[in-house]
């Protein structure tokens, strides 16, 4: 009479025949393997790599005057991508997660801005689905932004914006990076980046 633990691991009891031990043993390791494989898969989701991707715009890019609502930034290179989240041949404007869950989103930008009558430039991370077109307007937009201090002198300025994203897989597009400039400021971006990395289900 072979007994089992609550997880179904077989073992012999005192009334079992010793000569049956090899068979019980093999049942035991088969059950143990069936328990360990899902655990291995679960652990493998956590380390050594988690979904993480960083898209960059490194070709100088000029934002026209008075782009008050915002212009999406077209990425042109990939620094890292552990889960095939970036496909620049199909879309240069987004990082689209594959694994569901919670992500940290981090956008950075460096650019040269002219004196702008104390106006601001804003860098947005758009975490709403922009449906058909990254050049969204009005209701299609929601974002989290960083605003520069008043730009009084021609100089290099830096922006960065962070956000948490709960990616449920229902959106057509992934997060994108937007820049908004007021009337009087011309901005030439020398580098912009968008990073997403997964932190949990």
């Amino acid at each position: 009479m072979v007994a089992t633990t609550s997880l179904g691991l077989e073992y012999q009891v005192g009334t079992d025949r010793p000569c049956d031990a090899p068979g019980v043993w093999c049942d035991f390791v088969d059950t143990l393997e069936s328990l360990l494989i899902p655990l291995n898969d679960s652990v493998a989701r956590l380390r050594p790599a988690v979904p993480a991707a960083k898209a960059k715009l490194i070709t100088p890019f000029t934002i026209p005057l008075n782009t008050s609502f915002g212009l999406p930034l077209p990425f042109d290179s990939v620094e890292f991508d552990t889960d095939n989240m970036i496909d620049l041949t199909s879309s240069r404007y987004e990082i689209k997660p594959n694994r569901l869950g919670t992500y940290v989103c981090l956008g950075t930008m460096k650019g040269t801005a002219n004196p702008g009558n104390n106006s601001h430039v804003q860098l947005f991370i758009n975490t709403c689905d922009f449906n058909l077109d990254p050049f969204v307007s009005g209701a299609g937009f929601c974002g989290f932004y960083d605003s520069s201090s008043p730009i009084d002198a021609l100089a290099t300025y830096y922006w960065r914006s962070t956000h948490r994203l709960n990616w449920d897989g229902t959106f057509t597009f992934g997060p994108s990076l937007f820049v908004s400039t007021p009337t009087a400021i011309a901005l030439t971006i020398s580098e912009a980046t968008l990073t997403l990395y997964w932190v949990g289900d």
Binding site: W25, V29, D30, L32, E33, A49, K54, Y158, Y197
Partner: protein
């Protein structure tokens, strides 16, 4: 001896009956090795490399012709759970010393918790925090990341700066250095950062390998 299909856990055949103690020992050792490997991975996820520094006292003010550099080392560590090779030292957030102990993707951040003029203020003068990560190469130094924060100050108000970024660190992680400093254009007086006014942190996100399990 038989083995399971995937994990190769041993189990005896009928003819191995006499060797059961040896096989049991091997099975126990195999199970232990696999559990320890899983435990190591889980521990790394729950406890990724993190170091947080909060700057010490800055007695000196600095003029518009000077700069204030981040030199954050062992005395400034608020929390750290890793050491850097080759001498098992604390990581340092400064132009000398090592910051990383492993390749992979890292997330870094810097904050200046208040900077203010010691006297008069030059209107519209800038305050600039710059952070550069570079890597020593056979041909010199290669800049990896340039980031920072620029503020155009209208008055003598206290200014705060933050910046953060991610970086891909390769296998030569001991060749990376970080240079963070503050400059300003306030010619009317010097500027100062209060004691414990510099704050920095690093965290390893994971390796840059392609994930195997979605």
């Amino acid at each position: 001896m038989n083995f399971t299909d995937v994990l190769r856990l041993p189990c005896p055949s009928a003819e191995d009956y006499a060797a059961l103690p040896i096989y049991m020992q091997r099975l126990a050792e195999d199970i232990e090795a696999k559990i320890l490997a899983q435990r190591a991975l889980i521990t790394q996820f729950n406890n990724p490399q993190i170091c947080i520094w909060r700057g010490g006292s800055f007695d000196n003010t600095f003029a518009s012709t000077d700069s204030l550099n981040f030199f954050l080392g062992t005395p400034d560590i608020v929390f750290s759970n890793y050491k850097v090779p080759p001498f098992n030292q604390d990581p340092t957030f400064q132009i000398t010393g090592s910051l990383f102990n492993q390749s992979g993707i890292w997330h870094l951040g810097v904050a200046v918790l208040g900077m203010f003029p010691t006297g008069a203020t030059t209107n519209d003068s800038f305050r600039l925090l710059r952070v550069q990560v570079s890597k020593g190469t056979s041909g010199g130094t290669s800049s990896i990341v340039n980031t920072g924060r620029r503020v155009n100050a209208e008055t003598g108000a206290v200014e705060y700066f933050t910046t953060e970024f991610t970086i891909l660190v390769d296998e030569e992680f001991n060749k990376y250095r970080i240079d963070a400093n503050i400059t300003h254009g306030n010619v009317a007086s010097t500027m100062t950062v209060p004691a414990n006014g510099m704050f920095a942190w690093v965290m390893r996100i994971g390796s840059a390998d392609i994930i195997e399990v979605t």
